[in-house]
């Protein structure tokens, strides 16, 4: 049957024609097309990966920012707290110091008074001693004059001493 009989001529031309077509298409069509498709696939892949990376970096950055902000807030709070504490301390110190100084001054004043008092007493004693000596001198002198009159005189002297003192 003619339908099923292969013809040598057509097989020959088919081999040549298909061979040439295969060669030309492989070299000038399929190679650039497949390379381009592969390249495009790779570039899309690469872009996606980069986008993913950028997104991760972004989220990381946001987290970092938040952390920094939190840190800053904490630090601010700490600084405020510290400042308040320091102020408190300074205040207490000043008050303490003032108190101490006042006390010291008071004590000094008291000491002064004591010293003065002692000095005064010593002076009084000296004066009294001298007076007693003078009195004794006068009494002795009077005694040499009369009894009654001496007695009276002592009395008068005593009176006088009282006044002087």
């Amino acid at each position: 049957m003619a339908l099923l009989t292969p013809s040598i001529g057509l097989i020959f031309w088919m081999l040549i024609g298909f061979g040439i077509l295969f060669f030309l298409l492989s070299k000038f069509a399929w190679k650039p097309i497949l390379t381009a498709l592969k390249e495009r696939e790779q570039s899309i892949d690469e872009s996606l990966r980069q986008a993913e990376k950028a997104r991760a970096e972004m989220s990381q950055l946001v987290a970092k920012n938040e952390e920094l902000l939190n840190q800053a807030k904490e630090e601010r709070n700490k600084i405020l707290h510290d400042a308040r504490e320091a102020a408190e301390k300074v205040k207490a110190d000043i008050i303490d110091k003032a108190n101490k100084e006042a006390e010291e001054k008071l004590r000094q004043a008291l000491r002064e008074i004591e010293t003065q008092k002692k000095a005064a007493i010593v002076e009084v004693k000296n004066t009294v001693g001298l007076m007693a000596l003078e009195i004794a001198e006068k009494v002795i002198r009077r005694e040499l004059q009369g009894d009654n009159k001496q007695l009276e005189y002592v009395k008068n002297l005593a009176k006088e001493a009282e006044l002087v003192a």
């Binding site: 292969p6 013809s7 057509l10 069509a29 097309i33 498709l37 390249e39």
Partner: protein, 381 residues
């Protein structure tokens, strides 16, 4: 009763897998059915034709399906208008080259190294009395540019004019979105790459086979489509010609033999892990399978395309058969016939894509099996 069980079974299967495989299986089955159907159609048309003196449907159909030495455009016998094609004859005495118009539609004898005459579209050597000289005819090899060879060249030029500018565009801007005809072809190229080559040949080695798969797919597709065009430069039944499908299948077989690995031959000649007595049965079957696979590739494409042409031509023949009985019947049947022709043509359009796909897919599976590595235990990744 079975319906619920079937539904649950269908639901268990992954949808993508089922759809794709059902699709392929359906069309393989369908195309075989179509071929069988057409043969009865064809014989029916033939008997009709024989009863009719003037119009022989079988002869007309065969003339359209078979190769020819001129490209018939219109008209019949003496008034036929056709494009003459070069005849190239390689004889033991040397080359004979002349135009097919020298035969005057088979009525004239051409004298070259021998005396040639056109009989049933075949060139034969005749003696002085006009009888065929079989012995001399055997010495003459016909390398003529026939209708099919011309169609082959046209399709090659067409493919080159389509793909070379597209490739140029890819070279110029690889990373841009496709435009124009590029956007039509790119999904097909990607489909062959992602759904035909990679799953059947494997991620590692598919690239080596891509040029052949793409060339064969687009070659078959464009010739299938051109075969559906009823006027010049279409109309040649190139992919429905056994020589063409034979050549394609032979190329596939050669690629398989050249690229196949040890494992493949081991499986054919001595299947590992099979007891010796069984091998006596299995090895002949495997060897037979090795030959049958390319043979089936050849027959499937040839049968499908030829069958489609026969059906369409049969429906057209009906008009002339009935027209010969009475003009009214001819006009009446033409409405029915033409609607069927349109329907069949649409179907053939689908078959054109499908057969190109099936040939490419089966080639890819064949290549894949030839380079498959042995599955050693514990080597699963």
């Amino acid at each position: 009763m079975f319906a619920p069980a079937f539904t649950s079974l269908a639901m268990k299967l992954p949808v993508k897998y089922t759809l794709k495989h059902v699709f392929t299986a359906l069309f393989l089955a369908f195309s075989i059915g179509l071929f069988a159907e057409e043969h009865t159609e064809h014989s029916a048309a033939e008997t009709h034709g024989h009863s009719e003196q003037k119009f022989d449907a079988g002869k007309m159909i065969m003339e359209h399906i078979l190769d020819a030495h001129d490209w018939h455009l219109w008209g019949e016998h003496h008034s036929a208008v056709s494009i003459p094609l070069p005849v190239i004859l390689y004889t033991d005495k040397g080359l004979d080259v002349f135009m097919s118009s020298a035969f005057h539609h088979g009525e004239a004898t051409v004298i070259g190294k021998y005396s040639y005459r056109l009989k049933d579209n075949k060139i034969v050597v005749v003696n002085q009395t006009g009888e065929t000289d079989e012995a001399a005819s055997a010495k003459v090899l016909d390398f003529s540019i026939t209708k099919n060879v011309a169609a082959l060249f046209i399709s090659i030029i067409l493919l080159l004019t389509i793909f070379l500018p597209v490739a140029k565009r890819y070279k110029e801007n690889a990373n841009r979105a496709p435009s124009g005809i590029q956007s039509l072809l790119e999904p097909i190229i990607l489909f062959i790459k992602d759904n035909v080559a990679i799953p059947n040949i494997g991620e590692k080695k598919y690239e080596k086979y891509m040029p052949f798969l793409l060339t064969v797919f687009f070659f078959i597709l464009i010739n299938n489509l051109m075969g559906l065009v009823p006027f010049f430069p279409g109309g040649a039944n190139l992919t429905g010609n056994i020589s063409v499908t034979f050549t394609l299948a032979a190329i596939v077989l050669i690629i398989v033999i050249v690229t196949s690995n040890k494992h493949y031959w081991q499986h054919i000649l001595a299947m590992p892990g099979v007891p010796k007595p069984v091998l006596f049965i299995l090895t002949p079957i495997e060897i037979l399978g090795f030959i049958i696979r390319p043979f089936v590739l050849m027959m499937r494409l040839f049968a499908n395309i030829t069958a489609g042409h026969i059906v369409i031509l049969s429906f057209i023949s009906l008009i002339f058969i009935f027209g010969a009985m009475s003009a009214g019947a001819g006009y009446g049947i033409s409405i029915f016939s033409m609607s069927l022709v349109v329907f069949m043509s649409l179907l053939e359009l689908l078959v054109a894509f499908l057969q190109a796909y099936v040939f490419t897919l089966l080639s890819a599976i064949y290549f894949g099996s030839a380079i498959e590595e042995g599955h050693h235990e514990g080597e699963h990744h």
